[in-house]
């Protein structure tokens, strides 16, 4: 603490000479306040930097390790600026058809799940937002309750079901599984979005002779793009990242997704750490990009949700 206050005080003296004095505050009070404020600012900055090291260092280490040669990974002392800086690890991943396959599988599964979830969620949310119907309450309870069901409780019957249905070790089995996990929250998000749109919008179209189906897809969906995008981003992230079911419901390497594939490298190539870090970076890029693009939107959505409650 002592080391922190000393520089703060010296800076405070500068602030007194050329810093602005607030109107209505006496010079003496300003002098008294300024060092405190600067001291606080320095403490905050130190806190922020410590936090940044805690949060960011592992990611930084993953990134630089992906540019190292495998012998440099455990160099003593650890190297931050590597002599052997190269993209070799990335090229090795890109030149391995099996590892490329993990990416293709992840994209096929995540994109299919996203498309189907969005369509089903739009339909169900429309019914929830615009209609009263028998069984609505029961469905609502199931949709909310589903989110509390632990994956480990479902993995055993899913395994049994998928084997029975002949969907074990297929894309279809994995896609169906993921939809069940992504759909409930997608419906909740989408219903909340539709509820913000006035009913008069689709009523007007229906009076003109169009059915509910047309009203939904021609009128509501085009103006709900922001809501649909956040449902899609959420769904893609969940399916891209899923591990337990991908591990259990697939058997052959040609159906493994990225999260499972990374783990296979551990045994297969006897700790090619640089390659594992490279495939980790490459495997994270879709989610990182989606987050960075829709960040404002994502946090904004969360904000409104939390503040309302």
């Amino acid at each position: 603490m002592a080391t922190l206050t000393t520089p703060a005080k010296t800076r405070a003296t500068d602030a007194r000479t050329d810093g602005p004095v607030h109107g209505g505050v006496t010079a003496a009070a300003a002098v008294h306040r300024a060092p405190r404020k600067i001291g606080r600012r320095v403490a905050l900055l130190v806190g922020l930097l410590v936090g940044a090291v805690f949060a960011g260092f592992p990611v930084f280490w993953m990134l630089i390790s992906s540019f190292k040669t495998n012998t440099e990974i455990f160099a003593y002392p650890p190297q931050i600026i590597t002599q052997g800086f190269s993209f070799d690890a990335y090229l090795a991943v890109l030149n391995d058809p099996e590892e490329i396959r993990f990416f293709i599988n992840s994209y096929v599964v995540a994109l299919s799940v996203t498309a189907l979830t969005v369509v089903f969620a739009i339909m169900a949310a429309y019914a929830f937002s615009r209609y009263e119907f028998r069984g609505k309450k029961v469905m609502n309870v199931i949709i909310i309750g589903t989110q509390a069901v632990p994956p480990i409780a479902l993995i055993i019957p899913f395994f049994g079901l998928m084997v029975t249905l002949g969907l074990y070790n297929t894309y279809a089995g994995l896609i169906l599984t993921y939809i069940v996990f992504t759909l409930p929250y997608a419906i909740i998000m989408m219903t909340a979005y539709f509820n913000t749109l006035p009913k008069e919008l689709d009523e007007a179209v229906k009076v003109d002779g169009a059915g509910a189906w047309t009203a939904l897809w021609r009128i509501l969906v085009p103006i709900s793009v922001p809501g649909i995008v956040s449902v899609a981003v959420y769904t893609f992230m969940i399916s891209w990242n899923e591990y337990l079911f991908a591990l259990t419901l697939t058997r052959t390497n040609d159906l493994r997704t990225v999260p499972v594939g990374i783990q296979l490298l551990i045994g297969q190539n006897s700790y090619e750490w640089n390659q594992m870090m490279a495939i980790s970076i490459m495997g994270s890029i879709p989610v990182l990009l989606l987050f960075l693009i829709f960040q404002r939107y994502f946090i904004g959505g969360l904000t409104s949700g939390s503040v309302k409650s």
């Binding site: 606080r40 905050l44 806190g47 922020l48 936090g51 805690f54 949060a55 960011g56 592992p58 990611v59 280490w61 993953m62 390790s65 455990f74 002392p77 650890p78 169900a124 019914a127 929830f128 615009r130 209609y131 119907f133 469905m139 199931i142 309750g145 509390a148 069901v149 632990p150 480990i152 409780a153 479902l154 993995i155 055993i156 019957p157 049994g160 079901l161 169906l176 939809i179 759909l183 002779g209 059915g211 509910a212 939904l216 990242n241 591990y243 337990l244 990225v258 999260p259 499972v260 990374i262 783990q263 750490w273 870090m277 994270s284 990182l288 946090i299 969360l302 939390s306 503040v307 409650s309």
Partner: protein
């Protein structure tokens, strides 16, 4: 055109009324079918498996009553896993709350500008953007006996010889917990940050007029205002942390000598390495019941707020 439309008037109204009644079922049909087939049915199945012998592995499993549950509840391995899950969950959730609160307070401070705030926010959210399988591999690299964390600890003389954090029975639970703390605090932080931004400024103004110090303001204004968010986030986090599987499975696999065995890994091993699907189902049902109890409390707390 007009004539056609007028001509169709009666039938249009008729079909609209009919559509009005049947339409919602058409819209919810895909969801309903999926949820029944892949959510309701599996839950019934797993309960069925848990009261039978030789589920999945034998063609006609026999009814076993509660014997699977009794065997499980008298198995010290089960209680070991339950205790580990408890320790892991309580320390993770507490740390998530403290770190999330600390980071969100710093990010919400008026003393930093908009640009550094945005930069630090992205850095703090980083762990949330990586999937568990990747985080596990990354932490294995970081915590390797020859890895960078051992090097740093040794260079400041906190530890003598390098430690195999995930391999040593005395440090493995600590290691997986620290990893999970790192992996899981951002969601807490984002929600708390949103909550902080929603605290009315005049509450602070009133506290300042009353002469409250920043610390007093924190305990008398900030914390009570954040209480609903803290409670709901803590319950969600308990749900997620008790279910954590990938992080454990890919680092310690529950070992060494079961010191990091969680209910999730314990259940998984019963099923997919021991092929005792009946016992595994009993364990899964216990986890399910616990989760549903937490969920009921969660929904109640949400309701009482609104």
């Amino acid at each position: 055109m007009t004539a056609l439309r007028t001509g169709r008037t009666p039938s249009r109204f008729g079909s609209a009324r009919l559509a009005g009644k049947s339409a919602p079922y058409g819209f919810v049909a895909p969801t309903a079918i999926l949820l029944v087939a892949l959510m309701v049915v599996p839950i019934i199945l797993v309960i069925g498996y848990s009261v039978s012998d030789g589920a999945i592995t034998t063609k006609n499993a026999s009814f076993a009553g509660l014997t699977n549950y009794i065997t499980l509840l008298t198995d010290p391995e089960f209680w070991n896993a339950a205790l580990n899950t408890l320790v892991f969950t309580v320390s993770s959730v507490a740390a998530h709350l403290l770190i999330g609160l600390g980071f969100s307070l710093m990010l919400n401070s008026k003393l930093i500008g908009a640009v550094p705030r945005a930069v630090f926010r992205v850095i703090y959210i980083l762990p949330w953007l990586f999937t568990a399988a990747i985080i596990a591999v990354l932490w294995r690299l970081l915590l390797d006996p020859q890895g960078v964390i051992n090097y740093l600890l040794q260079s400041v003389h906190l530890t003598g010889s390098p430690i195999a954090w995930f391999g040593d029975p005395s440090t493995a639970l600590l290691a997986v917990t620290v990893m999970n703390i790192w992996a899981g605090y951002p969601f807490f932080m984002i929600s708390l940050l949103a909550g902080l931004q929603g605290v009315p400024a005049d509450l602070y103004e009133a506290a300042r007029v009353d002469g409250a110090s920043p610390v007093q303001q924190f305990f008398n204004v900030t914390l009570p205002q954040l209480r609903p968010i803290i409670i709901s986030m803590a319950m969600l986090d308990v749900l997620w942390t008790t279910q954590q599987f990938a992080l454990i499975w890919l680092t310690t696999g529950g070992g060494p000598i079961s010191v990091t065995e969680m209910l999730s890994t314990f259940t998984y091993k019963l099923a997919f390495t021991g092929f005792d699907f009946s016992a595994a189902s009993a364990s899964a049902v216990i986890v399910l019941v616990f989760s549903l109890i937490v969920a009921v409390f969660y929904v109640r707390s949400q309701r009482s707020e609104s």
